[in-house]
């Protein structure tokens, strides 16, 4: 925590800021992406029919391909990225709002310090969000390929990340 404080505007409550990023990450990336699981399990269910309470795989039925199931499930990543950009702007304004500590920042011999203070935490958070997005995509792909009966998987032509994001 103390090490991180060196990369944030002086006086920043690092703990509170980390909670913000974690909350943004949870809401925009994790919660948004959960809709994939709902769609997936609904698609998985549609592979089966029920006969006197017994679940039977419909012969020849194929599950939707992963790219169409994943479509827009990670669009929340962009909201998260925007939140990080807003935090960078909030950092900059923290040097102007209550006092004009921007005058000290502009007089520091190290010209990069202002950028470091404004950008480091948002960029690190964005990096963490990107890693989380990649891990969730990987986890969902694992679920898709390992939970779906092999004979119901359509031909895999490659994973389209942009379709998941945009």
């Amino acid at each position: 925590m103390n090490k991180l404080a060196k990369y944030a505007p002086p006086g920043t409550d690092i703990r509170r800021e980390l909670i913000y990023y974690a909350a943004f990450c949870f809401i925009f990336i994790f919660c948004f992406s959960l809709s994939f699981l709902f769609s997936y399990f609904s698609a998985l269910n549609s592979l089966y029919m029920y006969d006197h309470g017994r679940r039977i795989l419909i012969e020849g039925e194929k599950i939707q391909d992963i790219n169409s199931l994943m479509r827009l499930r990670f669009a929340g990543y962009w909201e998260f990225a925007i939140s990080c950009a807003i935090m960078a702007i909030v950092h900059y304004f923290s040097f102007i709002n209550e006092t004009k500590s921007i005058y000290v920042m502009k007089r520091l011999p190290d010209a990069k310090k202002l950028h470091v203070y404004c950008l480091t935490l948002p960029v690190l958070a964005l990096l963490a969000g990107t890693i989380l997005t990649a891990l969730l995509m990987f986890a969902y792909a694992q679920i898709y390929f390992h939970v779906t009966p092999a004979e119901c998987l359509p031909e895999f032509t490659g994973f389209d990340i942009w379709r998941a994001l945009l």
Binding site: E98, S101, R107, L108
Partner: protein, 247 residues
């Protein structure tokens, strides 16, 4: 020496500084006087490179950049400290960024003014905030200390204390450029007075030279500004219609 040549600054169509040229040598205490909006703050901000301008400002012949900006410090009534940091944390911050930070002076001054070291600046009174602002400017280790109305909100005793401390602690190589309205208060310890009006330098005088002429600084300022001593009584007469009472 800070050398300012043909410095001009416009805010839109409005001229804030008009071809200002002055030299500020090391080791002087200079008062910068002028009415509100005369251009005092703009001049100081131009020297510090906080705003854009046209003209030349050099420090010992070199343009003022990040390389030599550490030789200038700034105390402003807008306050430039970090409100969520304690004085102790400010000291650490300044020590990290300004290699000549004067720790001994910092402890001496914070103790003299009784400022709590472990309270965040936000919780300080206005007077304490002003004191701290000036302390940081004095302790940065700068050769040129620029102050813009630093005592707004401080009581007269507090200001007196500060003037005495200022005179006592300054090293011969330290220069103070003090922008203030408190002409009479500072006249006892400044060596030179620069008068600015509507963005132009209208007076630049050594206080000792004034004394030799038997003039006080306030008289010089009034003279330079064409101050009409009778304007108050005239106005009161116009308003009340009672000439004798207002005389």
């Amino acid at each position: 020496m800070i050398e300012i040549k043909n410095l001009s600054k416009h805010y839109g169509m409005q001229k804030a500084l008009d071809s200002v040229s002055i030299c500020i040598p090391q080791g002087e205490i200079i008062g910068l006087f002028g009415e509100n909006g005369a251009g005092k703050t703009t001049l100081i901000k131009c020297i510090l490179g906080l705003i854009s301008f046209s003209g030349d400002i050099t420090l010992d012949g070199e343009p003022i950049t990040r390389k030599n900006i550490g030789r200038l410090s700034f105390a402003t009534n807008e306050h430039s400290f970090f409100p969520n940091l304690t004085p102790k944390a400010h000291m650490e911050f300044y020590k990290e960024h300004f290699e000549k930070f004067n720790e001994k002076r910092f402890f001496g001054l914070t103790e003299f003014f009784g400022l709590p070291m472990n309270k965040v600046l936000r919780s300080f009174s206005t007077g304490q905030k002003n004191q701290f602002e000036v302390i940081m400017a004095l302790c940065q280790g700068a050769d040129y200390i620029l102050m813009d109305e630093p005592f707004v909100g401080n009581d007269v005793f507090n200001r007196e204390d500060f003037y005495k401390v200022l005179l006592g602690i300054l090293e011969p190589n330290e220069t103070v450029l003090l922008s203030t309205h408190l002409i009479e208060e500072v006249s006892g310890f400044i060596g030179r007075a620069i008068l600015i009006r509507r963005g132009q330098i209208v007076g630049d005088v050594q206080v000792a030279a004034l004394e030799d002429q038997g003039k006080s600084l306030i008289d010089y300022v009034k003279e330079t500004y064409d101050y009409r001593a009778d304007r108050v009584s005239k106005a009161l007469t116009d308003i009340t219609g009672r000439e004798e009472d207002n005389a």
